[in-house]
Symmetry: C2
Subunit: 342 residues, 2 copies
């Protein structure tokens, strides 16, 4: 079928050892032979058999990524961007990316075990960390290379990149207070996600600096989808004292909230302000454009991938922990709250 190192060896009258070493640019093969071999390899259209290489080298040159999605259909643009960031960097570094999607739970753990035990991947990227994260426990117990995007309760035992959600939400709080808002609703993800409490705390503390209380009745837990933003947004708007601003913990839910607001004939950014978190590409072109906290997800993907490859190659002596300061992007979904208006 396809041409192998053996075919080249035959053609140039050298051993397969020499051909292999020439192709890998070892210096115990004469420049002329090297030239010749490289040339004929190209002529014959040689390209190495990845599986033979991996079998022999006992490494997979593959990074594993298991996306935790609730439905099998994942359509969070946030993940697409992350995926692109990781995937492109992996390709640059000569790694394959093995992706699958599993919803959190037993099957998910199985998937990790299978990939680790089958020698299928050299390392993992764990995303959307949880407070007691069985994935991380497992990988630590096996001493298997991984990098997390996000922290856990006890996270100085591994390398991670995370955005400072506490800080980001304080920016949101300050922004809203500056616009006269004082009744604030918040739509969060499920509490087991590691970033949930950090973001709530950031908002709460940020508001308390200005003596505004975040009423627990005004905190609703959703599932990060637009649908849940819509439904919980509606619940918040139906409370006796309507919130003047609703803070969603991701952009997708914020879009849902905006729909709920607009459905009631209210104007987003005037009657009710809405904020998001992530700054996915769509947020710039929603109506109105969304005020949100910018996370450089694509770059985070690159960074995480790069760190992992360093760990795999043993170039990292100790755990590296990176916390990124996000920034607030002010657009038109937030505005001054005018007491007279309602």
């Amino acid at each position: 079928m396809s041409v192998s190192i053996k075919d080249i060896a035959k053609r140039v009258n050298r051993s397969i050892t020499t051909v292999s070493r020439a192709l890998n640019d070892y210096d115990d093969v004469s420049p002329e032979t090297k030239q010749l071999i490289l040339k004929t390899a190209k002529e014959m259209g040689y390209s190495p058999n990845t599986f033979a290489q991996r079998l022999q080298k006992q490494q997979s040159d593959t990074i594993g990524l298991i996306l935790p999605t609730f439905s099998p259909r994942f359509s969070d643009p946030y993940f697409s961007e992350l995926l692109a960031g990781i995937g492109n960097k992996a390709a640059d570094l000569g790694f394959d990316l093995l992706v699958s999607t599993r919803s959190p739970g037993f099957e998910e753990n199985k998937a990790y075990e299978k990939m680790v035990e089958g020698g299928r991947v050299d390392g993992f990227i764990v995303v959307r960390t949880r407070n007691q994260d069985t994935r991380i426990e497992y990988l630590l117990s096996k001493n298997f290379p991984f990098v997390a995007f996000g922290r856990t309760d006890d996270c100085n035992r591994f390398s991670y990149v995370d955005e400072d959600g506490y800080y980001g939400m304080q920016l949101v709080a300050e922004h809203l207070v500056g616009l006269n808002h004082d009744v604030i609703g918040c739509i969060t993800p499920k509490p087991d996600l590691a970033f949930t409490e950090k973001r709530i705390a950031g908002l709460r503390d940020g508001l308390e600096k200005y003596n505004i209380k975040l009423d627990p009745a005004y905190i609703k837990a959703g599932d990060l989808t637009q649908r849940s933003g819509y439904e919980l947004g509606a619940e918040l708007l139906d409370l006796s004292e309507t919130p003047t601003a609703i803070v969603a913990c991701n952009d997708l839910m914020a879009f849902g909230v905006m729909s709920a607001v607009q459905e009631r004939g209210l104007v987003v950014g005037k009657d009710v302000s809405v904020t998001g978190f992530d700054d996915i590409p769509m947020s710039e072109y929603s109506h109105p454009p969304l005020t949100t906290v910018h996370q450089p997800v694509y770059q985070i993907g690159s960074m995480v991938c790069e760190m992992l490859v360093k760990i795999i190659r043993d170039e990292l002596s100790e755990h590296q922990q990176i916390l990124l300061k996000p920034s607030l992007i002010e657009r038109q979904s937030t505005g001054i709250y005018d007491k007279r208006a309602i």
Copy 2:
């Protein structure tokens, strides 16, 4: 390191041949031995080395998918859904999915060649077909298994799944005519994409049935992003005779158009109607919810993947060509056009 077939063989005092055959459920090994081997394999935590298997079997059990994205950051929810559909089906069938993103052009072709020549994948899924599609030409010339999502000029030489865009756009045309619209703008992708002209033709012919002309000046070519929908939508709205309805060839551009409309203080679905194509999950929760043509992208992903695996396994005697009839989802972004209003 990890346990191999050899370790099991030693433990149960059989040859590695027997162990291998037991694990693969051959019937020339006695039930007792088979039992014993299966049991010890589980006990020892054996899982086969994928690369050794693939090297020996001379197949990769891997499907290649190269997403043609213009920027490296792809965030079209359409692709995420397709990816999920393909990926989950591939996993079910025991295949890996090797994904990368390349923008159309030289590098993209290189990527295909590399994967084919390196024996890296057993087959390809080619998405978003183009009129003269070099990817398809290449794969045909190599006689390499693939399935396309979309057709080309000359497409009875391979298997594909496609949605009937011509039909879908006729539905849109009928819907809009039924709502009294008569000045219609259209925002398309670049003309080299195979579906572009089909969709335009569907719209044009659909309108002509009711004696409404689609003025070429009202057709603008974008790049499928929200941004380009926004910009080209603005151009259409600035024409001397403002369109009463704008038809976008995908949902993302439709969102952009809605922003442009709303920015001018006009109401979508009343002053200007807007339609999309794809029915991505967000479309149900945009404001207003988007009238669009539904494509079952997730299922299409599954189907395409299943077809490809059949081709790889030689279970398909001749090319299979599937054309899906899409359906119109009427939501609130379209409404009756009332001449007096403007």
